[in-house]
Amino acid sequence: MKLLDLFRRKKKSGQYIAAQRLRLVLTHDRANISPGMLEVLKDEIIAVISKHLDIDTENVIVNLTEDNRRTRLVADIPIFTNRTRKTDARSKKGTPGTS
């Protein structure tokens, strides 16, 4: 999207909304997965991966993307590592009842 478009589309135009809705509908039609089904899929993916890895379930994103009529299921799953856990602990420092 061009920079100028960003300014002009601040108040979302009918054209912009139509294009976004169309894009979403086509992606789901083509993959034959409804948005609700995608949510179910996401929950099940989280359940499976949680058995083996410590994941940040709050921030999992499961989406369909598309380029040139090729549809992909893209899952972005943040994992807690030693480092991320440490920073998590640090940020929690000072909250009552942790010391």
Partner: protein, 261 residues
């Protein structure tokens, strides 16, 4: 050499399939081509009215398929162009009275005596659509710049691709340049991009189309109609001529910058 068989389809109803078929038939006839238009919308025929030939029908496609008349007898000759013919759909029968093989036989026979055979497909993606696209060398998909119509067009394109039927090209019909300029309507580039299909023409909204339909005199015959010109250009593109797209397709950079006409 047998003529080219082109099916006009859409998925959604009411987007202008029959209008496109009638106008492209006339446009090709105006270029001196031999054309046969076949109304495949059994039970809901309308191509005859669009072309202004409703009073001349003696036999229809089912009569021919059932052997009640010869092929030539089932053709109605246009009063304006002696090399333009129409085969009417049956009005009192259903889509199930035609098989894929029947339609293929009719289209091939028409191609023997024509440069172009245009098949006006019924709406939907069921049996009527399937027999209409079966004999096609090319499918023209008509859509409007609306989410619903584009969605249905995508389904049709998907079916054609999945079953490896004929290649498809897009006619964007009832396009309103003013609405696109005001960012109120899907713009052609977005539609073509999302559908991932080649464009063969954009037809602007034109109240003359409505008037022409009522009079049985398609707009392609009207020198002054913008839609008529767009259809004539599509006709020329079908014959292989390289006709530049009308300026309404894309705004210039300056226009985009100021968001104006």
């Amino acid at each position: 050499m047998a003529g080219k068989i082109i099916t006009i389809s859409s998925g959604k109803g009411g987007v202008g399939k029959t209008t496109a078929t009638a106008n492209l038939g006339l446009s090709l006839a105006m270029l001196g081509k031999r054309v046969t238009c076949i109304d495949a919308d059994i039970g809901l025929r309308n191509l005859d009215v669009m072309l202004g030939l409703e009073n001349r029908i003696v036999y229809d496609i089912i009569n021919f398929i059932e052997g009640r008349c010869r092929f030539r007898q089932a053709l109605v000759r246009d009063k304006r162009f002696p090399e333009l013919f129409m085969m009417a759909a049956a009005q009192t029968r259903g889509k199930n009275s035609i098989t894929v093989e029947d339609m293929t036989r009719v289209a091939r026979e028409a191609a023997e005596i024509s440069d172009y055979v245009l098949i006006d497909s019924p709406a939907g993606i069921e049996h009527g659509f399937r027999y209409a696209v079966a004999p096609a060398d090319l499918v023209l998909i008509v859509t409007n710049p609306e989410v619903t119509a584009v969605r249905d067009a995508d389904r049709v394109i998907g079916l054609l691709e999945a079953e490896e039927l004929a290649p498809a090209q897009l006619i964007l019909n009832r396009f309103k340049p003013e609405l696109v300029r005001r960012n109120e309507m899907l713009d052609p580039d977005t539609v073509i991009d999302l559908l991932a299909i080649d464009l063969i023409g954009i037809v602007p909204e034109d109240s003359m189309v409505f008037v022409a339909g009522n009079q049985g005199r398609p707009v392609a015959l009207d020198e002054h109609s913008r839609a008529g010109k767009a259809f004539r250009n599509i006709g020329r593109r079908l014959t292989g001529e390289d006709v530049p797209f009308e300026a309404l397709r894309k705004q210039t950079f300056i226009q985009r910058l100021f968001g104006s006409r």
